[in-house]
Subunit: 167 residues, 2 copies
């Protein structure tokens, strides 16, 4: 479990803080078990700009006790390494196979996080993932709720999870 | 109402066909009333490639009687014209104001379509919109359901709505 500092907690409401750790746990677990990739979670922060740090993003809408969205944004080298590990063969470009793998990883991260949240009575439903491929694209979540970003690093490179729920 | 030809109807199941017209009606209505832009809907088709024809996309997840996602993808010139009309001043680049306008348009199209669907007993909940900005990005919906694309044209350029629901 990642410890969150007070200045961070002040910026987001209590509900949002409780939603974060299940997504961190699920991300680490999914990548370690599906892709055998060691994942280090950095300190979550409230996003003030809108530039996703990456070239491929899985986006998944959530509804339920709160409406929101999660986005998982990878640098090209990072996702190529992850998917190469998943498939056991070297992937060299951002193609449809990579997009499908990102869709599946997004589904699995959301699924595990939702199961953990359900155990504490917070029930969410998931829409279906959409995957964006494009160099230096930016993502903006259209909501008045805080946009929480969690940076991750792997041997292959970095990726970021963004979680945004409406107030 | 757009008439759908038989070969199209064969490719998607009956449920998906019934879901399409409310999105077409909502799109025309929202753009004509909010941006005073005349919109012509083209013939819907089942998407076989994954290239969104555009530079800005609003993505919104839906849950309910079926889980799905809608994506509204604009060419740069098209969305600049639309938002210039909405704000009554010339917009010249893809900035945060454009992203927020796309988020709001996506919300309004989804909201109107959902109200029409609710009147026939199909209740959906909407997540929150995410907006992607990036030249020539491609979007892939991760689902085994058909990906239905509806092309629209305006004086300022083209945009496409994609609707995908799981089977």
């Amino acid at each position: 479990m990642i410890r969150l500092d007070r200045s961070f907690v002040r910026k987001v409401n209590a509900m949002n803080v409780k939603l974060i750790n299940p997504f961190i746990n699920a991300t680490i677990n999914v990548l370690e078990t599906m892709a055998f990739v060691k994942v280090d979670a950095g300190r979550p922060y409230v996003k003030t700009d809108n530039l996703a740090v990456g070239d491929v993003t899985g986006i998944l809408g959530l509804t339920g006790v709160a409406n929101g969205t999660i986005a998982v944004t990878f640098e090209e080298k990072c996702i190529l390494t992850i998917v190469s590990n998943m498939f056991g063969e070297a992937m060299e470009s951002l193609n449809d196979e990579i997009a499908d793998a990102v869709g599946e990883l997004t589904n699995m991260i959301s699924g595990q996080a939702r199961r953990e949240l359900e155990q504490v009575g917070k029930v969410f439903k998931a829409a279906i993932p959409s995957v964006v491929i494009g160099r230096n694209h930016s993502i903006r979540h259209y909501s008045d709720g805080p946009k929480i970003a969690i940076p991750f690093s792997t041997e292959g490179g970095k990726f970021t999870i963004e979680v945004c729920f409406e107030r």
